[in-house]
Amino acid sequence: MQQLEIKNLSAAIGGNPIIRELNLSVAAGEVHAIMGPNGSGKSTLAKVIAGHPDYEVGGGEVLMDGENILELEPDERARKGIFMAFQYPSEVPGVTIANFLRAAVQARLPEGEELEATEYYARLYEKMDQLEIPRAFTSRAVNEGFSGGEKKRCEILQMAMVEPRYAILDETDSGLDIDALKIVANGVNALRSPARGMLLITHYQRLLNYIVPDFVHVMVQGRIVRSGGKDLALELEEKGYDWIREHAAEPAIA
């Protein structure tokens, strides 16, 4: 089956365990949301899947279409089809969006094949137009001096350009006003596809009004404690995370 499968994953930073034997499967074509209180390990999960060097994997597997990607370098994972939209995207001074994305797209071409510049720019402009990013941004340095909303739109632009198999969007809604949120959500929805799985990580239900997930999971203390359909998010919004904490003993469905 085409899926991103997280099996019994445990991870720590500086010796402190964050992810505890977590299990989750995202099939191609599905959109899953992970909600949870601050400190539950949501962002850590995203970074561990992407291969951030600060995290130590204590056990378990992350299988992409059956292949364990935990042995791969971060750039190899990305070229195989993993994409993480960062909660706090880095600034890359002096490197323009056009050159940055060009390098990312070029890296996915077979060896010896050169990117065709005209086609590349045509595609870049098309995606920028969809995300209502002014074309002048192509010559601006990546994320340098960007507003919160511009950074998040830029993350979705990158996702659109590299066309990942599985995308993990870490708090893509944070710091966005309602107009920016709609633009970003439209961009994400446009990328929903039977060939692509998505995992949305969010603290608030609000995002899920605009990107309607197929499944919702609740994460507490490094584990998925509850799973359900999109209504689970509404229930959570209404009752708050304390409700989950009290019922954390209940077995998860997933």
Partner: protein, 442 residues
């Protein structure tokens, strides 16, 4: 036939030989007496001054052993094949207003300046011609600023041997849109060259000059250059030097810039090549409203050493200088920066900034910075700072997470780091040329 001459042969030989070498320079050409006197004085001074020592603050941290000159020769032999190849490769910008190409200090080609500009009094000539034809303009300005940053000995050697280079005069109010290009090549093993540029920009004139220093082959050589920029009232001068000598070349480049009232100078020195590159750059701000932007970028790889010494000399109130030097260091490369901002007692309302940034890409690379301030006036805004650091790990992870391989990611980040200085030039065509040159060097 071979008429190579060991550069320092006269030192060891008889005094008569010395004289004959100097007089034989420009054989068959009529050099004016004043210029011959310059040569004689230069040679005498060179002999008098001691070689640099690290005990001297001006040469602290410098690998002074690299500056032994015994192996270098002045040579005039170039084959037709070499000339052809040199001319083929003397390309850089797509468009320029005029061009001079020198190899081993000989003029190979000149693309003359447009008649319209000549009609307005613009002079762009090989130095050798200018010293005769435009003595009234050249003589008072020729090496008129004494070198004060340590290389007096090399400036003296330059004065003794200079024959190649350009004289550019832009009269009052004339603006030259396209850049003017000068190429200097080291074409044969152990060749010594003495590139010279004298630029006199009249009141309210505007001009951009770019010098290209290149080697025909990977072979040792010695380049001892001087460029003097004289920026008249309200004039706007941009000067770019792309130092791309082969990695066995030793070079000393001495710049002096004088900016008069409301004039503006912007220089960018790109150090891409050479084994040891010494750059001395001095800006004198001598009139109110004068401004000098001093930019440099360096890609120090292998065993390269870039040694820069600068002086921002504020001699008048309401003047501005802004220095930004950025180096990317890899392998066991070394860089040294020694810079001083000096604000003379009456130079109130000075704005002076000095920023040095080093990006360390290897644990064995070494960056030394010695920033300095000497402020004798009140009411000044001055800042200086030097930092050295590695690529930010989060930034690196960000690029990797986009599938960009580590080596490409490092190149991108390094080019981006250097781009700040290029962006300050605000010259699209030259900016693109520099970016391409950097991409090739990384």
């Amino acid at each position: 036939m071979n008429n190579d001459t060991a550069l320092l042969e006269p030192v060891k030989e008889q005094r008569t030989r010395t004289a004959s070498l100097l007089y034989s320079f420009g054989e068959g050409k009529d050099l004016p007496a004043w210029f011959r006197e310059q040569q004689r004085a230069g040679w005498a001074e060179f002999q008098k001054l001691p070689p640099p020592s690290r005990k001297d603050q001006a040469w602290r941290f410098a690998n002074v052993d690299a500056l032994k000159l015994d192996q270098y020769i002045r040579t005039s032999e170039l084959s037709d094949k070499q000339r052809g190849e040199l001319l083929d490769r003397s390309t850089a910008l797509a468009e320029s207003a005029a061009r001079l190409v020198f190899a081993n200090d000989q003029l190979l080609e000149r693309d003359v300046i447009a008649d319209s500009l000549r009609g307005h009094g613009v002079i762009f000539q090989p130095l050798e011609r200018a010293i005769t034809e435009y003595e009234n303009l050249v003589r008072p300005n020729f090496m008129a600023e004494p070198p004060t940053l340590g290389s007096a000995r090399f400036a003296a050697l330059h004065r003794a041997f200079v024959c190649a280079g350009a004289f550019l005069y832009v009269p009052r109010g004339v603006e030259i849109e396209l850049p003017i290009e000068v190429f200097h090549w080291l074409a044969t093993p152990n060749a010594a060259v003495f590139p010279h540029l004298l630029l006199v920009a009249g009141e309210m004139s505007k001009v951009t000059v770019i010098e290209h220093f290149r080697s025909l082959r990977d072979q040792p050589g010695f380049a001892c250059g001087v460029n003097d920029l004289i920026v008249g009232p309200g004039a706007n001068v941009r000067y770019i030097c792309v130092q791309d000598w082969s990695e066995e070349v030793v070079t000393v480049q001495v710049n002096s810039t004088r900016v008069e009232r409301d004039g503006s100078a912007m220089s960018l020195n790109a150090n891409l090549g050479a084994l040891y590159s010494r750059l001395e750059s001095r800006s004198r701000l001598v009139g109110e409203g004068a401004r000098s932007d001093m930019l440099a970028i360096g890609i120090a790889t292998g065993r390269r050493e870039f040694d820069a010494r600068t002086l921002q000399d504020h001699e008048c109130p309401h003047t501005t200088s802004d220095l930004l030097y950025k180096n990317a260091l890899n392998d066991s490369a070394r860089t040294t920066f020694g810079g001083l901002i000096r604000v003379e007692p009456h130079a109130h309302f000075t704005d002076a900034y000095q920023t040095v940034r080093n990006l360390l890409l290897s644990d064995d690379a070494e960056a030394n910075s010695m920033p300095g301030l000497e402020i004798l006036a009140d009411n000044v805004k001055c800042s200086h700072g030097a930092t050295s650091g590695q690529i930010d790990e989060e930034e690196m992870f960000y690029l990797l997470a986009r599938g960009i391989p580590p080596n490409v990611a490092r190149q991108l980040v390094t080019a981006g780091f250097l781009d700040e200085a290029i962006a300050r030039l605000s010259h699209e065509q030259i900016g693109e040329y520099l970016r391409r040159s950097i991409a090739r060097s990384l």
